[in-house]
Amino acid sequence: MGIDNTDRTLASNRLVFEVRRDMAAYRRFRENFELVMGEYGLTEEEKEAWRTLDLKKLGDLGVHPYFLPQISRLFHGGGYNHNRSEACKAYAASVLAGPAGDQ
C-alpha cells in the first residue's frame, strides 16, 4: 500500500482518471460500469474488486491511494463529504475495517 505501490500501467488507474474528467464518461460509467470496465481492459481481479468496492484490494493491485476515496465517491456521491458521509464510511469499511465516524 501507499503511493509507492502505484502501478501506472494498471487499467483501473486510467479508468478513474478519465471518468472524473468528463461528466459524460462518468454518467456512462454509472449506467453500465461492467461495460466500461470491459472497454478499459480491467483484469477479472480488478473487476471483482470494483464490483465489491474492495478499495483495499484495488490499492494492493496498484491503484493510486488518492483515487480510493474518489472511487468511493464515484458510487456514493461527493457532496458534503464529511467523515460520517456514505462515501467516507464505505472507504473506512473497506480500507480500515472500521467505520470512520468512530475515530
Binding site: I3, R8, P65, R73, G78, H82, A100
Partner: protein
C-alpha cells in the same frame, strides 16, 4: 524588472469549503479568521498576477507521461471542474490567466535548466478553488497556475522544487516588465493522508514542527530535514504536497515565514493553515 511582492503558502483541503460546519465551532471560527486574514494580506499587496504552485491530484497529469511541473498558459480559467462541484461547494468562477507571463516562464525555465510542461486546458479542483475562494473571492487577480507532481512517485526532490522557486523568482526579476507585481502562492499540505491508513488523522506534531522550521528562515535546514520520507511518515498520500511550499520557499531567500493560522482539523482530514513571507 518585475517583483515578487508576497510569498504565501496555505493548505487547500476541500473540507474548508465543503463541510467546514462539521468542525468544532471555535476551530471553524479560527480557520475562517485565518484564511480571511491571508486574503487581506494578499489583496493589500496589490498583485498584478498570482503565480500558483500546487499538487495536480492526478487530475491533469496522465499516468503515461506525468510531468513534475506544468504551467497553465490559458488566457482564462474556469473552476471547479464539473465532477468536483458538489464536493467543493463553491460558486463557479472564472479567473483570468496571464499567457505572456506563462510563456516567459516556460522559455526562460528551459534556459535555466528547469523543465516546465505547459497546458492551456488544466482542470481545477480544490488546489485553486479553495484558496481563491478565501484569498480573492471576486476572482479579480489573474492566475498562472503551476501544477506539480507531489504524489506520484518518483517525486521531484525538495532540492529540485526549491530550485524551481529560485528560477521563478529570477525570471520575474530579470525577464518581466518593470513594476509588475507578482504574488507567489503555494497551496497544499499540511499533514493528511487521502486514501491511506491515516485518512482520518492529522499529525499535529509534524505540522507544528514544519511551521516552526519555516519560521526560522534557514532554507538549507528545511531542505535537509523536511525530506519526502519525513513528510510521508506524517501522511503518505498527501503531506508531500508541502513540496509546493518548498518550491515557494526558493523565492524567499533567508526570510522568516510568519504563521497566520494553524488548526489540526480532523473533521477536514487535514492539518489546515498558512504562512506568509513578507518580501519587502
Amino acid at each position: 524588472m518585475g517583483e515578487i511582492v508576497l510569498t504565501i503558502a496555505l493548505a487547500h483541503a476541500p473540507g474548508l469549503t465543503g463541510w467546514l460546519d462539521q468542525a468544532p465551532q471555535d476551530q471553524q471560527q479560527r480557520l475562517r479568521d485565518g484564511y480571511q486574514e491571508m486574503g487581506r494580506i494578499v489583496r493589500a499587496a496589490k498583485p498584478d498576477t498570482i503565480i500558483g504552485l500546487a499538487n495536480d491530484h492526478i487530475l491533469n497529469f496522465q499516468f503515461d507521461n506525468p510531468p513534475n511541473f506544468c504551467i497553465g498558459t490559458a488566457d482564462i480559467w474556469h473552476g471547479p471542474a464539473p465532477w468536483f462541484k458538489d464536493w467543493l461547494n463553491v460558486p463557479d468562477y472564472t479567473v483570468k490567466g496571464n499567457r505572456d507571463l506563462a510563456h516567459t516562464l516556460v522559455r526562460e525555465g528551459d534556459r535555466a535548466g528547469v523543465r516546465f510542461a505547459y497546458s492551456d486546458s488544466l482542470l481545477f479542483d480544490d488546489n485553486w478553488s479553495v484558496p481563491l475562494f478565501y484569498l480573492t473571492p471576486d476572482h479579480d487577480v489573474p492566475l498562472v497556475p503551476i501544477h506539480m507532481n507531489c504524489i506520484l512517485p518518483p517525486l521531484p526532490t525538495p532540492a529540485e522544487c526549491f530550485r524551481v522557486g529560485e528560477v521563478i523568482a529570477e525570471i520575474v526579476r530579470t525577464r518581466r516588465p518593470a513594476r509588475e507585481r507578482i504574488i507567489l502562492m503555494a497551496t497544499g499540505g499540511l499533514s493528511h493522508d487521502p486514501g491511506g491508513p491515516a485518512y482520518f488523522n492529522v499529525d499535529e506534531a509534524f505540522d507544528r514542527w514544519f511551521l516552526s522550521l519555516l519560521e526560522e528562515g534557514n532554507p538549507q535546514r528545511v531542505l535537509k530535514e523536511a525530506t519526502i520520507e519525513r513528510m510521508k511518515q506524517a501522511g503518505d498520500g498527501g503531506t508531500s504536497e508541502l513540496l509546493a511550499w518548498i518550491a515557494a520557499m526558493g523565492a524567499v531567500g533567508g526570510r522568516r515565514a510568519r504563521t497566520i493560522c494553524y488548526e489540526p482539523a480532523v473533521e477536514l482530514r487535514c492539518g489546515m493553515g498558512g504562512v506568509v513571507w513578507e518580501m519587502a
